[in-house]
Symmetry: C2
Subunit: 653 residues, 2 copies
């Protein structure tokens, strides 16, 4: 795919929506659950009477954030997202803070989405129950394998499950509302149970009650994760990019809000009882239901009520929900290495992560992401409720810094802008971003206050570690840059060595050695000699004899090696040449086998590799590897190239 053909692969809005919205939309599969079970800690009545109020506040925040981001995508269409907005307007440290937060949240997106998908699958496929963590790790492993192989994404691959999910969930909502209006909506199975308060929550009032509401709200804000995805993907949109991205964002927000509100409404109408600890909290006729009780997700219970006589509908909901959650997890597999690449460009991560087509670097990112997510899934036993406590912090750190950055952006531009129409537009944008900043900041404080001890503290600690490490990497690069800089007019580094002393390393006479000799001779050095290390006197004598017999026109010198070492005698010899003629350049030619399997690499080249490493420490020495391609290496070149995860969302599909 060449850059001149790039235009053809840009995404129309109908494909951009599913590519970027799966993360945001999928949260409807777990956000309502968190609202219900948090309120349910104080008993069933509270959850059924107040969940919809919490949901309304979440929807309000979501609306504000989406309006704010519509300003972002118009002002920063380069795809740098929150990192760019914060870096440009608030300085590199703020940008790095956003980046640390986002890296941590990518890990949590994978962990939460996959865990939710597994819990959801358990509603339809009973055998998953009791093995959630291992199934989740299996799914992460499958996603990792898929992304490592570099499956080329296509807009269609996203479109089918995402639209199916939208149609299914919105369809279910419509049918549910119709049945509610006609009075035919059955109660949920769990409606007949009592939801008892958790011990310690029996009589929550006053400040404690307020705090419980805030906790429910901050868990419900999980519905907002993924909103920022579009701001990183603007370059993949067709022109006018900013405008199309903003429209898509609005569309996504509308669908998200509709889904969330209908799910909470249906759950309330069907009288769902959803408990944090169902075995103890749920009771039938005063007797706890016990460990055998199986609590389906809110969406699963709603589906069973709405599709009461139509079991296929329930299974369909379960399947499309599972699909969209896996798709949501997959977005992190694409986003994580892309963000890594941007951070590498700015010197905060190893530089090689910046260049693309660099499968290895992308692979490292994918493996690190998957490892961290699998670790969390195992530690928290794939429990969404526990993982949610670590989630969201990162998103709101990033929302807040980005919106503050946008306010600065407009203020800066307003200083220069004289056109009254443009000024009005900017002032309006600044107000919107200002409200966004205030609201995200407030939510961030609420999240920190209500979740810090429950897990958000870990997330903050992880961000801090990343922040410090990335700062140090940047400092190291700056330090090396200064060390290597050549001042203007300094020409001493352009001085040529006076003579070239070439040495060809010989162990045996075979094709690689002869090629190395031929190549060395072709460079016409001032002095050329072949060098062997006398590890075994008999072998050395035989080599010398064959050398003479074959009439090889280069003198062969044997170095003593009393301890069967190879590296040290060669290094000592090279140093002795250098110390006699410090202005000479010594070129050491080392034959090297090119192999096709990793285990062959273990069996060959190790001594050569070590010698090469060792020689590089000696100034005035250059090491030339003369490759010999073994038969097993054929076809390896093709296997080394291929597509890279995240191509579609970078507009490089």
């Amino acid at each position: 795919m060449r850059s001149d053909r790039l235009g053809e692969t840009l995404l129309p809005k109908r494909l951009a929506l599913p590519v970027f919205a799966s993360d945001a939309l999928s949260s409807v599969a777990y956000a309502p659950d968190e609202i219900f079970l948090t309120l349910g800690l104080a008993g069933g009545a509270l959850a059924l009477t107040h969940s919809w109020e919490i949901a309304l506040v979440v929807v309000l925040v979501m609306a504000v954030v989406i309006m704010s981001y519509r300003q972002n995508v118009r002002a920063y269409p380069s795809g740098g997202g929150d990192y760019e907005v914060a870096s440009v307007n608030l300085g590199p440290k703020a940008g790095l803070g956003v980046a640390s937060a986002l890296l941590v949240d990518y890990v949590l997106t994978v962990a939460v989405s996959v865990s939710a998908g597994v819990q959801n699958a358990a509603a339809a496929f009973g055998f998953v129950r009791g093995h959630e963590a291992i199934v989740a790790v299996g799914i992460i492993a499958a996603l990792t394998a898929m992304n490592l192989r570099g499956v080329r994404e296509s807009g269609t691959a996203f479109a089918v499950p995402t639209y199916l999910f939208m149609v299914t969930v919105l369809g279910m909502a419509l049918i549910g509302v119709y049945r509610k209006l006609t009075g035919t909506l059955p109660a949920a199975e769990s409606a007949g149970l009592e939801l008892l308060p958790e011990p310690g929550y029996e009589a929550v009032t006053g400040i404690a009650l307020g705090f419980l509401f805030l906790r429910a709200f901050s868990s419900g804000c999980a519905a907002l994760t993924g909103v920022e995805a579009i701001s990183n993907g603007v370059p993949a949109f067709r022109k006018p990019k900013g405008h199309n991205a903003a429209t898509t964002l609005l569309l996504m927000g509308t669908i998200s809000v509709t889904m969330l509100l209908s799910m909470v409404a249906l759950a309330t109408w069907t009288g769902i009882k959803y408990a944090d600890d169902p075995a103890v909290q749920l009771a039938r006729d005063g007797v706890p239901v016990g460990e055998d009780y199986v609590q389906d997700t809110v969406m699963g219970q709603v589906a069973k009520s709405v599709f009461s006589e139509f079991h296929v509908g329930v299974v369909l909901v379960s399947i499309v929900t599972g699909l969209i959650l896996v798709l949501a997890a997959n977005t992190a597999f694409n986003g994580f290495p892309v963000l890594g690449s941007i951070l590498a460009r700015d010197g905060f991560l190893p530089r090689q992560l910046h260049t693309r087509g660099d499968r290895l670097a992308f692979s490292n990112g994918i493996v690190i992401l998957a490892g961290a997510a699998a670790f969390l899934v195992i530690v928290y036993d794939a429990k969404v409720t526990s993982l949610i406590q670590l989630y969201i912090v990162g998103v709101f750190v990033s929302f807040t810094l980005s919106q503050i950055g946008m306010v600065r952006h407009w203020t800066r531009h307003l200083r220069l802008e004289r056109d009254p129409v443009a000024r009005t537009r900017m002032l309006r944008s600044r107000v919107i971003n200002g409200i966004g900043a205030a609201m995200s900041g407030t939510v961030l404080l609420v999240v920190l206050a209500t979740k810090f001890i429950h897990g958000a503290g870990f997330a903050i600690a992880a961000m801090a570690v990343l922040f410090v490490v990335m700062m140090r990497i940047r400092r190291h690069y700056d330090h090396v840059r200064d060390e290597l800089a050549v001042s203007e007019g300094d020409t001493k580094h352009q001085l040529l060595p006076s003579r070239v002393h070439a040495i060809v390393l010989v162990a045996k006479i075979h094709k690689p050695t002869l090629r190395a000799l031929a190549y060395a001779r072709a460079t016409r050095p001032s002095i050329l000699e072949a060098l062997t290390v006398d590890v075994d006197p008999d072998e050395t004598k035989a080599l010398q004899a064959e050398w003479d017999r074959r009439d090889i026109p280069v003198p062969l010198k044997a170095l003593d090696s009393p301890f069967r070492e190879i590296t040290r005698p060669v290094v000592d010899y090279v140093k002795s040449i250098r110390s006699g003629n410090p202005r000479d350049l010594v070129v050491v030619y080392i034959p090297q086998y090119v192999v096709g399997h990793w285990w062959e690499q273990v069996l060959h080249n190790q001594s050569a590799l070590r010698l090469r490493t060792r020689l590089l420490f000696t100034p005035g020495v250059m090491v030339s590897s003369v490759p010999w391609q073994l038969a097993s290496s054929e076809g390896m070149e093709e296997r080394m190239d291929g597509p890279v995860a995240g191509d579609v969302r970078r507009g490089e599909g």
Copy 2:
């Protein structure tokens, strides 16, 4: 240490004995225990009446094996040991079988010796009890660290603890015999207990009883491990090497036999009750002693009786026993990489293991050995009795094959020998080795029959896996050798390339780039150009401007890279040169940073390294690394050299 000074470091017998005997002598710390507890399965009476008979048979086998090995060290003074004897006389597969067996047994030497040391330490230091496995793993880790650092061994370091152990144990034996003769030897603490049979062993008679005797015997044969150590160490002896080694072997055997017999005698006289499962089997007045009972080792109990009024003696025995056991484990840390080096020489292991001064290769061997031993210690919870079941098989496979090999050796030499005196000597040696072979073979069968299901089967399986892997490695090397061979008179591989096209890779103008340009110009290529990959148009433009301003006398070419790749554009360009001029040689000069810390390696050179790897797959291309030593790399050279484990026993101390 130079080879001409090597003679000074050779070992006199008084130092060779401790260097090579610690493994063999240390087994007196656990072999008697195994005899007692195996017989004790059928009750206390059997153990006290028949242990000494079993010990006598073990001593007989040991005497025969030592007599046999005295022939080995005279006939094969090169230090190849059983592997060499079997390879030369029975073919490479037999040799490889011996090697597989020895590798497995090195692992078990570490596991058994350290576990025995920990159990012994528990007698003096109660806090170790209950944490044996973790303490054992800690000791293995400490040994690993010591050997990785390459602590230079000295004969004295071995001599002090080994002689101390001999003096202490033989002294204890003398005092014990004196007290027995004078009637002042007190009974052991456990003498007053009943030793009940294990369930299932209440009335063992006939064949079952015979089988129990055979099991006790085969466990007792643990006393023979380490006998072969001297045959691997003959080069470290002073001249006449073979003679001195044979004398040392005899000395070691005598001391071993004396220690073993006195320990069994003292244990019998003091009436020790030693149980496999003390909590159940040991009873006081008919009541089992239960889990709280602490069973000391046989040596610990004997020491408490012999030194009844002198507690310092008991602690001394415990300490010197612990020391010699750790020393015995350490011998495996030296022997394992040495055997690996010999196998590598013969193409059965990666070739780089052969060359010495190759710390990395030795380090790999040490880490693999330690990992495997730690694994066994954890799996078997540092229980010597369980580990012993896997041990010994390897030693006797190796004894048997080696002795059969020696019989063949003498038969072959007898065919050529005409001197009657020499013939008589050879015939006598052949008889000795023949008896040795017959007896080791019998013991091997007994060990297999009595222990296969208890664990020896695992050891055999491990040997089989090693055998197959090493055969495959050898086959691969043979295959590559054939692929690379140049037939006599074939000169086409000596043809020179017609022209040299040099390319210097440039990312920025800094000192490493200027050095690479200077070096490339010094080799006077037919064509020379600098190449940069246009990942970022602005940067490329700035580079070009600075290039012109600095008046660098080499043309700079920029390659397009629509996807921010580096490798592919360069490879494509190099291929295009090659396809136009297939007889040209393309030399690519890549500046490379030489760094001082592993993490710097992660931050630098990765793109260069990948490009280098990728270019090597292209025929007709040579890659030259032009090093630039960063300030952090200073002092690294010294850190890369140092002594290697096992120097003393190879005569290279």
